[in-house]
Assembly symmetry: D3
Homo-oligomer: 336 residues x 6
């Protein structure tokens, strides 16, 4: 039997039918009816295709003690509506262990394969020859555990590269743009520049949690990925004997200033050419990836213009694009 995705479950086709399938728990709260003191669980279920509200009345208290946000559960329930929103009334619920479900059902992954992403990163690290930078990159990317986490990380919750592998995709794209800048500007120190690109967003590994859905971690919100990245950088540097002070300062400056302006959360603004270029490449790729996602999604609907995009205060022009180009998934990077 085929899986019932949440996107399908929310259509009228499923209204009034029973569903038995596996979903991630995004939220779970225990609530009380004011009138009679009865308790129930209010849940949000999710998978890679969307989210749906759910409610559970039976043994709510016990269920609430056992299941937490992030768990994957198998449910039997009735697809209905509450206040005109799709809602599942859960009858049976059971927590699944890690091996008992397919993680790919819950998190979207990059359209580029994991080995290809890894290879893309390796190409960049291999290009660096300055002794201390080689050691530093090895300390990060030579560590299998780090590499695994890096390849799992998204680059954002919603806006751009919001999928498993998104951080790697974005990092590779930024490296490539920076190489082109280096061909233009001979004051640039290429090894420092590439290292800066590779490490500029490593803090995102700790900024996001990506068990069964992408969300901000507590330290992601309280500290932010720029400072988390700087901290990770200084920890590794602290373990490399005689790592030059000057180089350390320049690297952490790249990480901390890469948002380009204080208004966008950089505690310092770029004061070196390398930091300036990393900022511009980062910004260009984030913008380009967001445009791409919108053009691909909305461009196939025969519309001339996208819906209004609040985050960048504009409509995007869709007409006149070649249909072949628009087809495909959200991915934006051509790796080969």
């Amino acid at each position: 039997m085929e899986r019932v995705s949440i996107k399908d479950l929310k259509t009228d086709a499923w209204l009034g039918k029973d569903v038995i399938d596996t979903y991630a728990v995004r939220k779970i709260e225990l609530k009380t009816v004011a009138a009679d003191g009865k308790q129930f669980c209010s849940l949000e279920l999710g998978d890679a295709t969307g989210r749906i509200d759910a409610v559970l009345w039976d043994k709510a208290d016990a269920v609430f003690k056992e299941i937490v946000a992030g768990d994957v559960v198998k449910i039997k329930g009735l697809a209905g509506k509450y206040r005109d929103n799709p809602q599942v009334k859960i009858e049976l619920i059971a927590k699944l262990a890690r091996g008992d479900y397919n993680p790919a059902h819950f998190l979207t992954a990059s359209s580029i394969s994991r080995p290809d992403l890894e290879a893309g990163i390796r190409v960049e690290t291999a290009s660096v020859s300055q002794t201390y930078l080689v050691k530093l990159l090895k300390a990060f990317f030579g560590d299998a555990e780090f590499m695994r986490t890096f390849l799992d990380a998204p680059a954002a919750k919603l806006w751009h590269h919001a999928w498993v592998g998104g951080l790697a995709e974005h990092t590779i794209a930024v490296c490539r743009l920076a190489r082109a800048a280096h061909k233009n500007y001979d004051l640039l120190d290429l090894d420092l520049l590439v290292t800066g690109c590779l490490l500029h967003d490593i803090g995102k590994i700790r900024e996001f949690t990506t068990g069964t859905f992408i969300d901000y971690s507590d330290e992601g919100r309280l500290v932010g990925h720029l400072v988390l990245g700087d901290q990770m950088l200084m920890e590794k540097i602290g373990k490399i004997r005689d790592f030059p002070d000057e180089l350390a300062k320049r690297l952490r400056h790249i990480v901390l200033s890469h948002h380009g302006e204080k208004e966008r959360g950089s505690p310092v603004v770029p004061a070196t050419l390398e930091a300036l270029i990393v900022h511009h490449c980062d910004y260009m790729d984030a913008h380009a990836a967001a445009f791409t996602r919108i053009i691909r999604r909305e461009g196939l609907q025969n519309k001339r213009w996208s819906e209004y995009v609040n985050l960048i205060d504009r409509y995007i022009y869709l007409a006149g694009s070649d249909d072949d180009r628009k087809a495909g998934d959200d991915g934006n990077l051509k790796l080969f």
Copy 2:
């Protein structure tokens, strides 16, 4: 006898000495002494190395009628000071005809040779194969007169690429960055993108006057290079039979939106991926060129930090750069 540059003329070494040499007239005003009604000319002289004030008392009225800003003159005068600023007291003055002086004395030129710049542009135009874009580029760059003016133009009055050939340098740099972006993002139409890069700043040809010094033209200030460029574009398109409307709209959108935000003078913001990329590449190159100029100028003085740069509200870090890199002139582009 060697030329006395204005930079030298302002040093104490020339104080009190007579100078006979050739300078450009940047400003000339006829003034009257309130006390006795006597008239004099107040001038500003210039060459590629700087500016100096000058005063002329003899036959001021006649001189004022003959000489206008932009002329090159031969003067005999006394190097002195007025209110503690260097000033030349002019005794004799004569206007020179175009062939009688060396233009290179008055305007700084790109560190890249004119043939190299032209070749750099030709590489880009030759890469375009879409029929109507080929016709359009030919209408511009195939016109010798346009090409001559294009290669003479600066990209700014002061901030970046403020020299003869600056527009060509900047245009080539932007094309190259855009090509790198195209390698990343397959939704981009490469021919449209490169054409957009080549034409994005053509309005600067009319925004600046560059006889013997760079200044804004009247229409440069009243209309601006974005709209002047759009107008030049539409004039050429109007002469190409059956030029597709869709393509015309996309091209002029690139030209008009390339400053990226309304606050920076774009009447519309980028709504296509090509326009977005041209904007980012333009912005990155302008920033990089300004950083380069400051690092080269100030980096050789054994300072750790530049003076405060008002336009970008920051100091630039100079220490730790390789001295070899810093040597050389203001130029920033590696052409080959």
Copy 3:
């Protein structure tokens, strides 16, 4: 039988009843039900009183091929709801030819008659006596086709003068305010000022499409009415022999700077007294027209304050206005 306006059709009085009438198609999309692959058309219908969603299941594919946004159709359908929003379930649909419907059902028109608007414009053009400006105005307003389009154009999609004839109303209002300014400030060149007022918004003719509803055209969004107006101006000027350069520059500066600030989309800011005054008169009339519309609409409901007006971040005070004044339609200009 009386027409069923969309405003009425959305009330509960029509719920569950059959409706047969004529509406404009504002949007039409072909969609597919994920569950069973069935296709249907999702439409938005409109007339001068509002918009309503509609759905059509029968021969959706064929209908979608025949009917496009902007068409006027006769439908037979059932007034119902979907997810608690009014929706018409269309059973029969047929496209109407231009002569087969009354355009006034679909677009609101100015409360001032077309001949009165035309007369109002003629008063202004007739007041200009400077030779080249007379020729220029004749090239525009002496062209019957231009005049027809001008009188059809709105001045906005939603905010102020968003109706047929709105552009003419706004233009006349701005001319009159500018004349008052001229009585105050003798440096103003009256002929240039009036011409500037008459032409400042002509680009709106091309910025909006106004078949059966007002919307932005593609070039409206990609180029904007300031640059479109400048282009139209330069085309006419190009056909007038010996039109003085100085005058051309001053006119296009008025058109391009009339939004007053870069943040509001002017690529250049007013640098002449005439441009400054056109900007202020334009801004005052737009503001006053928006206030008037809100006071008239909400003022009759016995409220002391309007709802919050997001676009100008404030409530408008309605109490204490004379009821006679508030009565009437949205129109704001007293022509005679």
Copy 4:
């Protein structure tokens, strides 16, 4: 013997010569030489043509006790320089009584005569017929002492109408623009509108001191002319029996909101049509007067562009203006 204006005194023609004439004291401080404890007075002298520094060594302490900023003094002194700035070394100084000097030497006055300004105001007050507004206007402009102060007041320290009579000039200009607006918009209550225009800036009477030069008063800076004007308004209204509350609220709203935006110092933004129009007319006249002053001052020097005007971040275009127009003083209003 002719008066030596400060403008002349600062030219080289007076360098090293003795001057005996009458000037206003703009500042006076008692200072001590660190090295030897000797005291001296550091002064700033002024008249309608400018300012000059002065120093006085003899009996500095006694002079400092007698003379305060705002006094007019007769001095004998030597025109010289200090650190390259013009400076008068005062040998003798004596304070003059009010009748002993000509006030016109110290403050610039409007180019429109006082009776004409008064007549201009009377035309506006006479046009109002609503009972309570008539009483209110009489309470202000029917009071000879108020009228005298009103006609003496400037509208600013530097930027626009910075002269005796400036407030009246500006007030008349604003009334006239508002009348034109009333011809356009029939929702406007004309009597309320004109009264609002007449009273919008009355707080400036207390915001500035205008003895021998224009400066901010303490309450001008601590309270501001909007709130001072509102206070003056409420004092008069408090003395008119049965003045309608609704009318009072609408009037003070006009006064308090006339700067249009909080950023420009209005504690509330316009929420009535009358307040909106007063704001726009006020703003237009201030802008137009500032442009006029700059065009008149700089336009006669054969320059195409003004110097950069910091307050409005732009150059003003001077070329092409009719010379006749530019001639004359700073005044901007055509009264008849």
Copy 5:
């Protein structure tokens, strides 16, 4: 029988049941069904726990003439839904006189008792010893009617201290913070500072109406509490013989500048140390009270983070707070 709060009435438990109870009328409008011309009243009912929509068909016209917003009514009605929002269909309605209902049902009150709030204010006024400030404070807080109104007033409609007694709570909190500042900075005049704190927000008494719910008064929106407070201050000062001018100016400057920046509605910015400190204490307390309210409300729901708080553009971190602290009502001030 227990009261049916609006919070309860909106739950599904009451759906379809009859309710007979007492509510405040927040809004009442008379509307007409387009289709058949039938009239009905559309109401908003409220109490201290929330708001609910209501509709009344019977004798709508008569009811509309008798009942106005702010009245308290007894109704008999049916709890239902309209367009999926809770709505009461009113069958019977009767207006209640002031004594016939319990005001505490309609307005939330401070968690601190009225006598305690009054005592808190008295402690502050009693601390002041400067003669004229003592007289001034007596003129306000020695007036029983003023004191009653002051203790009834809220400090805001929604954001912080939005309850009866909120103004007193906020005023006491600000006084205490200012005393701490005085212990740090010896330039502060303590009596002036405390008086400034006590009076800084008195205008709020007139800015809000608080009959049966908190709303802005007309003059609250048209004039604002800063200027209303300044006016109240000047009225009292005007009645105190020989009140020093200097002191009056300093006090009104505190009141008018306490929002700290023009953008936040202060017509002048703090120019004295006392005004600066009052501003900072006011701002800190408003912020702290808003955080407290959110932490208390959302913190008990086992969430780690609050919902997004638009007004301050952030999430608030809830995890890790001691549960004891979070329990309790919205109140934030520890009085003893």
Copy 6:
């Protein structure tokens, strides 16, 4: 013989006289005369009273190799002028060793004694009783070397507390304000709050260099004191076994968010009540200290208003302050 302070040296009393004394070298550059290739050193000398330019011609190259910015030198030179600015022509120069000069001549120190400052800090640290916070504070303030550096540090280069001991003064003042806040708001965790205050600015120890004058260090500009402070915090926490994660996150959030807004350089904005209060107290004290410094400096000159203060865009009102209060040095904190 008494020391010649730089403030004195710049007066005319010293013009043309020989001076022999000890100064700090703030800048030293080796320059070349264009005309004849001669080399000279251009220096800036300083002490606690000010700065002066200096020039040295003799053995410039050798001197430049030996002396660097930050050194203290004994010079023999002639007090003169160059281009109307005071300048010392140095004849003899010799570098002094650390023990050979009095550091107090070069850096201003707090008006509060070092033991008093230390005691002030100890009072705060002693108040904390939570186990892990006690350990953490001991790790910082129990380390004599840290304490020494902390007591030496300024809180700024120019704006507030720009002297030795300034960081301690500011830190104590912030702690005290926060204690007052805690008395108001019972949700605050007092130990966490006080610890946050004590540590919020520790990064300033590394942000500034304070040998013989205060300047930014390289990492001060490239990293900033917020991130440097966070790094120091995490280093100490890393050495405390079992330091709770939750507590660590809350502390670093206080340090990183204490500037309150991204625009002012905080990478994250306050999301906990403790972080919010530390921000407000920090901001209030910085503002109050800057006001105090200006009032003290300018208030004794019999002026009613300070000069315009660019950094906060306003004049400060000086009149009416008690002279006793104004007397004294720049210090602002009352410690006892």
